[in-house]
Symmetry: C2
Subunit: 530 residues, 2 copies
């Protein structure tokens, strides 16, 4: 659906073999770049091989050649753009292509260092280098190929082909209606007002907000860093209410916030829930100005905010700096960006850093740091972390919907009962949604509103000329998972890697004092019964 007028569908998917997990990796982002490549009818861009000369960097420009009625690819040397903060680099690249209307994909210094923690960045609607396919080190994969940028100019391109336009329109309208009516996704609703960081207070209340390297499920400073605090903080500094903006064209949820300094100038955009949590609660930091600075540095160096915050938590556990040390955290992120020895340790990702620093309380699966939901307090998401082919990843099967948000029914987050089946169903459906180009946030509306789910399928059938049913969607998703699983098996990742760290089986988590009590047999059943 990417590149069509389907709402909230401008996602780009980046894939490769992860230097963080050693397995398959798919990470996606919302950006105009996604719509632009689709508009040129490019279904996928495959980058293979390595440059003969190490340390040389190149960009590619892909634009529409109207004469030949096809896309044209040109190379440009990108050495001058290396070793710098992306907030310095992006304006220069836009300037270089000032006579064009471009979208820019790139990788930062983290990718150049070859880090397991390095993302692929895409421009947002204000040309910021801020929309990340962040997880799993795909920035390092890109940089290892000497590829610094992929610049697109889709002017003149024919746009996405839609086989059955009337059917597509029927589906699209149902989807718009669902998104506009659901409390989470409607205008001035939860996401549009408070951003994804609206989840801080909700998870804190549920006792599932990982705090100080996953040593508690509740953070005493949660209210100070919550989405509501971002909204109120902006209001106080700007003198007026500020609602959020879209990350990409055609999004009607519009959940991207901007944090402002006391002098009313922009500090960073966007502080997502995961970033807010990772750089905040997980490090014992309750100051939004510190979190904003850390967020901006991650974007600038090309780092994944989740992996960065989780590895800093591990460094704090190891005594490198104390929990709550905002200034020390900022210094550490600079050291990561600059490739200093302690920075390389942290830049290599959570599992690796835990090993090198000699820490056993390491919240990671397959080496990848855990996101902002505690497995001991929310059992279903723990099963997703353990079993997804991606390493610890909440987006692979977001059981938070029924376990915490009451979306698609309500299930007790502390109970392990039935959660393997729940995770399996969410993983399969998610694989379809990701493949469709929609943002995962349509899930709230399509799970609660039947016509929204119909709309998604009709959109897909309209674009592709297929006649898929709801059952086909789940089967499609399951097939995706099976292919991913085969990749991992061939890469030497066996089911023994589908486990939650030992400490979560032993240490009870305050405030509920639960351990992760899902048996290995239940974890194995997720793929065993797929």
């Amino acid at each position: 659906m990417t590149g069509t007028t389907a709402p909230t569908s401008a996602r780009i998917s980046v894939g490769g073999k992860s230097p963080l997990t050693g397995g398959i990796k798919e990470a996606n982002a919302g950006t105009s770049w996604a719509a632009d490549i689709a508009s040129m009818r490019i279904k996928a861009l495959v980058v293979e091989g390595m440059p003969e000369k190490k340390g040389e960097y190149w960009g590619i420009l892909i634009h529409w050649d109207s004469t030949a009625a096809q896309p044209k690819l040109e190379w440009f040397n990108a050495n001058e753009f290396t070793g710098q903060n992306l907030y310095e680099v992006y304006p220069k690249v836009y300037e270089k292509f000032a006579d064009r209307r471009v979208s820019i994909c790139g990788t930062g210094m983290a990718g150049e260092h070859g880090y397991g923690n390095s993302g692929v960045v895409f421009n947002d609607m204000s040309k910021r280098p801020s929309r990340y396919a962040g997880r799993g080190g795909l920035g390092a994969v890109m940089a290892s190929k000497g590829l610094k940028f992929i610049v697109l100019d889709d002017r003149g391109a024919p746009g996405v082909e839609i086989v059955d336009k009337p059917l597509f329109e029927v589906g699209r309208k149902k989807m718009i209606e669902a998104l506009r009516s659901h409390a989470i996704t409607k205008p001035k609703g939860a996401l549009n007002s408070f951003g994804t960081a609206v989840l801080i207070n909700i998870l804190n209340e549920a006792g599932g907000l990982p705090t100080r390297n996953f040593s508690s499920g509740r953070f005493e400073g949660a209210a100070k860093i919550a989405g509501e605090a971002i909204f109120e903080g902006n209001k106080a500094r700007l003198g007026e209410e500020l609602y959020n903006h879209p990350c990409s064209p055609g999004c009607i949820i519009q959940c991207s916030n901007t944090w402002h300094k006391a002098d009313k100038t922009e500090h960073t955009s966007c502080i997502e829930y995961e970033s807010d949590w990772a750089l905040g609660a997980n490090c014992g930091i309750d100051d939004l100005d510190i979190i904003a600075e850390l967020n901006q540095l991650c974007n600038g160096y090309g780092l994944d905010t989740i992996e960065t915050g989780v590895t800093i938590g591990v460094a704090m556990e190891a005594g490198v700096i104390p929990f709550g040390d905002g200034k020390g955290s900022i210094e550490l992120v600079h050291k990561i960006g600059k490739g200093e020895p302690i920075g390389r340790i942290l830049g290599s990702g959570t599992g690796s850093a835990g090993k090198v620093l000699g820490v056993t309380r390491v919240p990671a699966v397959k080496g990848q740091g855990m996101p902002a939901y505690e497995p001991r307090a929310v059992k279903g998401i723990g099963i997703t972390y353990a079993t997804t082919t991606m390493g610890a990843d909440h987006t692979a099967g977001y059981t938070i919907c029924p376990e915490i948000l009451g979306v698609s029914g309500k299930q007790d987050p502390l109970s392990p009962e039935g959660k393997a089946a729940l995770s399996r169903a969410f993983q399969a459906t998610t694989a379809f949604i990701d493949s469709s180009g929609h943002c995962l946030f349509i899930a709230f509306a399509i799970l609660d509103i039947a016509s929204g789910f119909e709309g998604m399928i009709e959109e897909a059938n309209g674009v592709l000329g297929t006649s898929w049913t709801a059952d086909d969607i789940v089967k499609y998703g399951a097939d995706v998972l099976k292919v991913e699983r085969k990749f991992n098996e061939a890469a030497g990742i066996s089911k023994e890697a589908d486990r939650i760290p030992e400490f979560m089986h032993i240490e009870p988590l305050p405030p509920h004092n639960n351990i992760f009590d899902v048996p290995d047999s239940a974890l194995d059943s997720v793929f065993g019964e797929l």
Copy 2:
């Protein structure tokens, strides 16, 4: 046979789950400690669990209680011995037990840091902390349990029980005769004169001496660091020929050398072939005084010399210091010992360091650095590296015997033909020899001299009262391998981990310009057809 009068049989075996490979680990050493524990009729010492209080270190003293006719175990606090070089610590521990006749097992600062590169050390015959069960991070396993020392005093103990003494004596005499007559193991023979470092010139000649992080199989400085150079260097400095000494009681091969400074004082003991190569040729260093200092620092900090040299080679590849930089290497080993950030990176072992430093030319299998034989120049040993449960380990199946030394026949080292079967046979036989308590160096004599092999079996049957045949020996070894393999599978290590690094399949190795051309199917057949 450990603790008996069987020649060259005072080996101790240390086992655990390796923090370096994530799999099973067996490392062994020659030391009086081995004979002493056997003399108290202790077959194995199992250490389980963790101390409640982190950072506390303890020692245990095991001595023979003549009244109760059994060993007695006492604890002592060892906090005062932590954070120091073992060459400072060992004399203090001997002093503490001055009224006893003790052997000491310990772990150094490397173990305290939790490094994947950390050994378990045992005293040699001159009370030096120099005989290491070095590989795979067993020092960290020991230290993680708060265990700093295991001190033995076997006075009054009854000694090893021998079921059939006449048979044992028959076997023992055959073994002595074989060892005393073989060119490699006889008095003033290759090992007694030049130590294991006699292999430097031999492997260099064969083009299989890994040089500068496995970028060549021949080192222009080989002759300057060879076993012959150690012998001649000592002779020049001391004014007389110095033959080698035994590492443990009852060894008639006596291959341990001592390197002396220009002022005739001792510098280090012993410079093994592997240490000489790892800290020398592999780092492009051709100065025995530098190698001796590096060797002594490794022993003092509790590091495995192989893993240290191979990770420094990787650091040189990454540009941390240049190849050949002896002073820089000494500084790096101090940083490893002291736990500085770059030291932690290197202390975590070859595979981990390669990842953190962003290097792709990483000579490791299952994370463990490769020893001193190039898989591209000696195919059989490459198969052993790839397939042994231990990670890259030459001692697990020393096909060098027929491939390089002409022991047990002669096979072309460059040919992959039949080498999977060869490695399998050596791995199984080795598992028996290791289990018997003999030093692996009896292999030269028992493979070439039939009565020596008979002698080994008769010794075993004499001690145990068994009636094993040669076939039983191989079956015993194969059973050991199968158990180890099951351990690794349960730990999530699949056959996809039984591989040689990619670069060795791509980059031809000078001077023969061979790649590692053993197909995966041959690698899989080693255990597949066991």
